[in-house]
């Protein structure tokens, strides 16, 4: 068994006296691997990825990123570890009243001091990186546009670019497409997986849309009531597995029609 880049060992989380939201979850993630985390609402998907960067404090278990035990870090070291973990949110979580560029630069806050951040005097390398990323997510023309003046798809692309500004070793993605229309959802998923592929960046993507998960991720982890009930290749995800994860249902499980061409990300935004 290879020691992955990210390893979860017996991770559990219990909110107050409720039934555990996560119960003894273990798996590991290799460099460059993009996994989809699926499961019914309330299964603990968000809790799991929030435990990894400790937006939520795990109750038990260990999380290794490389050879750092994330669960044992003090505040300072935790901040340093968080710089290595990019996160993308369902509702984008941009700072609405800041410009696109400022939102991107906020991804570098862990690396600059208070005053540089306050005066928006970031190192030239950060500015260059931001411009490069804006090109890659096709937002080159929107540098100084305020985030609240963007469409949903554009916002999520800013969210992606902000996470990549951190030059992370790991990407956590919590339902990136849940607030978007089907077409934009695909474009966003394609963009995320493409950017991860180019960088060899491992990612965990929470997603409700099983066909999308199957299409863009090689490996799928199924979560049910805080426990892993499936961990395997996306291709092996059949009706019986889905029933294991989600419960009994008539899975209208045809093959998703293959996309005609590799359309470009920004075509609908023209």
């Amino acid at each position: 068994m290879s020691l992955g880049l990210l390893r979860l060992e017996g991770l559990s989380k219990r909110y107050g006296k409720d039934a555990p939201a996560l119960d003894d979850v273990s798996f590991s993630l290799d460099a460059g691997e993009v996994i989809a985390l699926i499961g019914p609402s309330g299964a603990g998907k968000s809790t799991l990825i929030r435990c990894i960067n400790r937006l939520v404090e795990p109750t038990a278990g260990r999380i290794w990123l490389g050879d750092t035990d994330l669960t044992s870090l003090d505040r300072r070291s935790l901040r340093q570890a968080r710089r290595r973990i990019g996160m993308i949110f369902q509702e984008f979580a941009l700072v609405e009243r800041l410009s696109v560029m400022e939102n991107l630069l906020s991804g570098r806050l862990g690396y600059v001091g208070f005053w540089r951040a306050a005066l928006r005097r970031f190192p030239q390398a950060d500015i260059e990186r931001a411009f490069d990323l804006l090109e890659q997510v096709e937002l080159g023309a929107m540098v100084d546009r305020r985030a609240d003046a963007l469409s949903g798809g554009q916002r999520q692309r800013v969210g992606i670019a902000r996470a990549l500004m951190q030059t992370p070793d790991l990407l956590l993605v919590d339902e990136p497409t849940a607030s978007l229309d089907p077409r934009t959802s695909r474009q966003i998923m394609r963009l995320i997986t493409r950017l991860c592929g180019e960088r060899g960046l491992p990612a965990i993507i929470n997603i409700h849309d099983v066909p999308l998960a199957r299409r863009y991720c090689q490996r799928v982890i199924g979560l049910r009531a805080g426990r892993i009930v499936y961990d395997g290749p996306a291709s092996a995800l059949d009706d019986s597995v889905l029933t294991d994860i989600y419960g009994e249902e008539d899975w209208d499980n045809q093959e998703t029609p293959a996309e005609g061409s590799e359309e470009d990300v920004a075509e609908s935004e023209a």
Binding site: E102, R120, I127, F131
Partner: protein, 263 residues
Amino acid sequence: MSARVWRRPPMIADPRLRWGLSLAVVVYLILAVGSLEVNWQRVAEGLERGAAFAAALFTPDFSSRGADILEGFLESLAMTFVSTTLGLLLAVPVAVGAARNLSPLPVYLICRGFIAISRSFQEIIIAILFVAMLGFGPLAGVATLAFASIGFIAKLLAEDIEAMDPKPLEAIRATGGSATQTLHWGVMPVVLPRLVGVSMYRLDINFRESAIIGIVGAGGIGATLNTAFDRYEYDTAAAILLLIIAIVLLSEYVSGFIRGKLR
């Protein structure tokens, strides 16, 4: 590839306007601070007094002028109750007059003018006039606070009435209701719940104000406080201030409670 620069776009795009405004602000600040005439020696002496007063806050003296303090607070409270009630009763007709959807233009203008005047002047300025007319004492204070309450309450009520849905009013008029019937069945149900909240709020303000208009002779605890400061009786002044804070907090709590109940 040349270095790409980025600066946060300035809030004001036009550079002349931006620099002009900044310059104006700087010049104003220099002039304003420059025109302060501060007697630093007096300030230095004062710090000692300030420390003495701060110490007095921990040793307030309620008893040596106990009778004066009691009298002052009773007067303040009596003024508060009477003036708020009076203000409330008189504010209702003024509010109806100041609602464009109920009143003809001349009445509207007169009532709005009255509200504007009553709100523009600080209570203490109005108190000066009433003291000149009615003589020293709490009656001048009652008149002052009632006058100010009318403007305050009437403005809020008039806004409510103007924001009212016109349909029920028309329905009552259409059934042949008289003006008073319109008021009673159409306006009162809208205004009444709000009236309670607004008058609780005003009760609070009137108490705070009753604590200061005594400075110009219009009764209340303000006169006692002023005398205490004049005589450098820190302990007594501290006692009065603490009582004011306590009463304000209590009344805020009570009015919050009552408004919560009514909601």
